[in-house]
Amino acid sequence: MDNNFKISKKTKIVSLESAITDNIKPGNIVFLGGFGHAIPFYSSHEIIRQNIKDLTICRSGADILFDQMIASGIVSKVIFGYIGNPGVGLSHSFRKAVKDHKILLEEWTNYSLILRLHAGRMGLPFIPSKILQIGDMPDNIKYMKTIKCPYTDIDMSAIPALVPDVAVIHAQQADEFGNIQMWGVDGDTIEGALASNKIIVSVERIVDNSEIKKFPDRTVIPAHRVSAVVELPWGAYPSYVTDFYSRDDKHYIEYDKISRDPDLLNYYIDEWIRNIQSIEEYMKLIGKKNLKELQNGMCGLKSNDE
């Protein structure tokens, strides 16, 4: 084939505003990506700014992004394996919402939640597993059925598929057509994205398609599955992005204090989320010194150049 033949293809690049408006509706089940790494903070904040309500949010291990979503009053249900502030303590907004019966739970474990997404990704109504056969099971997941393995006769849990309406994830790079490249810790991010009907991706940088083709193994979601791509450098702050910036552990520690106090938390949500108009304002809030330190931090730009 003629090497120079150019096919003119559709771009998937849109503004963050329309990525969210066009793809997330009230009542949707939304998978939020990022397992410690590459958590889509900034794009999820846009859901809060647009005040899209009655959402069910899901993932295996969730951190303070879930706390912020819950605190903002747009979440009616969580489907999860863990919600906390890893290494710091509890998710206080989650704790309060549960205490005040303001939120519905569907409480799995990390592996069973991943298997739910795995079944969704594979187009299966369920997948068997050995877990969830002993121990206490919350009423909210007692709809799960048991099956007998037709070969070994052992009882197994029939983990039901989970097919989120939309996945929101953050990655290192994409081309304009929507080929997404991510490396470093993934956790259940790709599993959740591929399980979902729509996929919204924010990336640190848009690159040319020729860059994508240099490492096709790094492409984790193919263009035709992606609904929207938004370029959002620092979009995963205060989590981290391998080869871009490190994790702001201090932010997570401070958030523990802040989220214990409703007034402080309101102020935080206004300051860090509701009043923010652009990623540039977000970066300003992070602060130049901090941006530089995080770029120099472990797994940041500099750490990679060693």
Binding site: I7, K10, R121, M122, G123, N179, L194, P216
Partner: protein
């Protein structure tokens, strides 16, 4: 002036006719050979956003040269994504790949395909390669297109072994009940396009330049009179063939 398809090689004729059925922005699961060529032609003409998915796990490629295997260098080279076979078959089972293209040694009136044995399974006259991914594609894909050179030995009343199930009544019922793909929708030869009806293959129309008699020569099925006079190939599609010189050379 109409593009003269009689000047094309047999493979090229199948490829251009099949390419017409591949709409823009669809995703399709393609095998090596004419299926891949057809998708390339579509992509190079009316369907620039067509996504081509190979069972080796390669996505988003336009082979420079004919590949012998779905895992060959010319498939992997310059691709947008290389994932594993598990992932692409999973997408297929999840109904997230729109179209599949298959060929085989034999096809019957309901699109059942055989690529396993000629003769009885236990005592084969010719033992062939087996299903590969063909059975899986035929079961799972929402829309299946079957590609066949017009060779009367390939068109049979009953295939010797149903490797890849078609759309006969019993299968159609199970497909619906068990949420499988709906099976074969069209049969493309180098002379005509057929569509699947409740009673099996019916003629859509011959390829422009071919007569009704040529299109239906030696077919063991009643394919009707055709619903169109002939199928002409657009200039864009016809001209795209020049990007796949091996397709022309290979008759």
């Amino acid at each position: 002036m109409m593009n003269d398809c009689r000047t094309l090689s047999q493979n090229a004729r199948i490829a251009v006719l099949a390419a017409r059925d591949l709409q823009d922005e669809k995703s399709c699961f393609v095998g090596i050979g004419i299926p891949s060529d057809a998708a390339c032609l579509a992509k190079l003409s009316h369907a620039p956003n067509l996504s081509m998915i190979y069972e080796s796990g390669v996505i988003g490629t336009l082979p420079y040269s004919p590949a012998m295997s779905t895992g060959s260098p010319s498939i992997a080279y310059n691709s947008d994504m290389i994932t594993d076979s598990f992932t692409v078959f999973g997408e297929l089972q999840a109904g997230r790949i729109d179209i599949g293209l298959l060929s085989a040694a034999q096809v019957d009136a309901f699109g059942n395909l055989n690529s396993t044995v000629i003769g009885p399974y236990e005592n084969p006259k010719i033992r062939m390669v087996g299903s590969g991914g063909a059975h899986d594609i035929a079961c799972l894909v929402p829309e299946l297109i079957i590609l066949m050179p017009h060779d009367s030995r390939r068109f049979v009343n009953d295939v010797d072994f149903i490797t890849s199930p078609g759309a006969n009544k019993e299968f159609a019922e199970t497909r619906l009940k068990n949420k499988l793909g709906s099976g074969p929708v069209s049969l493309i030869t180098d002379r005509a396009r057929f569509y699947m009806s409740k009673d099996g293959w019916k003629l859509d129309a011959p390829l422009a330049g071919y007569s009704y008699d040529e299109a239906t020569e030696d077919l063991p099925w009643d394919v009707g009179k055709g619903i169109n006079n002939s199928i002409t190939i657009s200039d864009d599609l016809f001209n795209a063939i020049r990007y796949l010189p091996y397709l022309e050379a290979k008759n």
